[in-house]
Amino acid sequence: MILEAFLLVAAALLCIGLFGALTQQSIVMLMMGLELMINGITLAAAAFWYFLAPASDGQVIVVAVVTAMAIEMAMGFAVVTAIYRAQRIDMTDSATELEG
Amino acid sequence: MSATTLMIAAVWFLAALDGALAGRAAGRPVGPAAAAVEPVRATVRLLVGQRRSTLAADGLLRWAGIVSLIVAAVLAAAVVPLGERPLVDLSVGVVWFNAMEVVAWAAVWLVGWGPNGALSLVGGYRFVAQGLSYELPHMFAIITAALAAGSLRITDIVDAQAGLWFVVLMPAAFVAYLLSAAAMAFWGPFDAPVARDTAGGAGSELAGVDRLLFAGGRRLLLVAAAAMAVPLFLGGGHGPWLPAWAWVLLKTAAVLVVLVWLRHRLPTIRMDRWAEISWIVLVPLTIVQAIVVALVVLARGGM
């Protein structure tokens, strides 16, 4: 139960999420990768609070990270729905309107 | 051990009462003895019944759904005070209860998805829609009770009702909580997920032990929700002559009688109508109730 152990687990989750976010062809699976990344960051924020500065206001960043996850998921699904309505796209490889 | 017997006894009481009222509604009144024996007969019949599995079913997810429904009900009941102390007195008991009954969303969706059947999937989706609609009024109602007591610990909420029960202080929150208690266990007017127009909905492809555990988990969740109404709104164990645990049992039984009566009185609500009622009527009502209670708390001298 040392800080390095928590941070290594958080870094592992972040990198697994990054791998998923970079490789997945389906937009929903890409969002799952992003969720894993924010999962890692939540754990790191809680570990930093406990081990470095358990002051009264260090938990605010954990609240902010969890709220950011909720916002990201809501907006992500709204964007997926909007793209699907516009062009029937459900794979990241096809969502290339701004490319080139 | 006594907690387990208490839970089984409460589920038995609920099933017997439900059977008695159903018999009366169908025009074949059953006496108390027959009504009490009927749940035992149904249990034995389901225990020896054959389990059923469908083509390309996802057995792991279906099993996970059934098990998590029962585990969630037990864990939710663990923070309800039986008398003075609950089994586990968490400092965030109210939020823990909320988290455990949200597990039912995942459980019913999994049970609907597992058997690879259209009607069971429809039941699972109906429960997700119902869940999204009742969750906000439910959260506001229980947070209003915690607000009036100044703590998230359930024993503190019970202690704060020594003078005045919260049902007098926040009646709208109590009504919203009762409706959401029925909705969280898809009971009564909110049983669209297991309704007859989808041949049993989420539970349509379950048989034998699976069906017993699913129905038992549903009833146990209803008992836990009704039991939670007692410390949150009805004064917990406070009362004149009887000991605290007797009052808790009596009040829980009263809430269960109301919920069973509600089931046999109102028809199943359609999901779009329920979404409309919940978002347009209940959410503003519970928010206004929370504001009123916050003003009362501030006027009394703050927290």
Binding site: I16, M32, P54, F77 | L60, V102, W113
Partner: protein, 186 residues
């Protein structure tokens, strides 16, 4: 004992995170992600943040159920009955992830972390409430306004019919032209 629990939880979090991208069935992938979230929430509970741990459990279960709904809506292979490989550029992504992990791990192990300053408040929940309502009121207000903006933006992005479709070109139809009845009339 605490160390054993921590090891079990961290292995569970990481392995279910890997399983999200390995299993064929998308429903199982969603619930593997839920298991990973619950393991992380349990680890947050271990650091003493009772309220935040239980709130993470609550929010993550709701979010994963909603993600399951969207996943079945938008994906080709929700039950995994036809094993398909839906990856692109795995080698490049593996290199990038490996480099990021090596860099982060090197940083974690090499950096001289400072000493602990202060002790946790006796009731972290009350401390969080007082922080959010007191010194960090600006954070609270920003989060509140951002959440409200998210609600509005989500509805605007995902609704298929705008107000001109519903109420006519001059916005003066008596009843809104909706497929489902009810509502407040506008």
């Amino acid at each position: 004992m605490v160390l054993a629990v921590f090891c079990v939880l961290s292995l569970l979090a990481i392995s279910s995170g890997v399983l999200v991208f390995v299993v064929d069935s998308m429903a199982r992938a969603t619930f593997c992600l839920l298991v990973s979230f619950l393991a992380v929430a349990a680890m947050v509970l271990m650091t003493g943040l009772a309220y935040l741990g239980v709130v993470i459990i609550l929010m993550m279960i709701i979010e994963m159920v909603i993600m399951a709904v969207f996943m079945v809506m938008f994906m080709m292979n929700p039950a995994g009955l036809m094993p398909m490989s839906m990856f692109h550029n795995t080698r490049g992504a593996a290199v990038i992830s490996g480099l990021v992990f090596t860099g982060l791990a090197a940083g974690i192990l090499v950096v001289d972390w400072p000493q602990r300053r202060g002790v946790p408040a006796p009731d972290p929940t009350v401390a969080l409430g007082e922080a959010l309502m007191g010194g960090h009121m600006l954070t609270m207000m920003t989060l509140g306004v951002t959440l409200f903006a998210t609600i509005v933006a989500t509805v605007v992005l995902s609704t298929g019919r705008g107000r001109y479709d519903r109420l006519g070109d001059d916005l003066d139809a008596e009843r809104a032209d909706d497929p489902a009845g009810g509502g407040v009339g506008r």
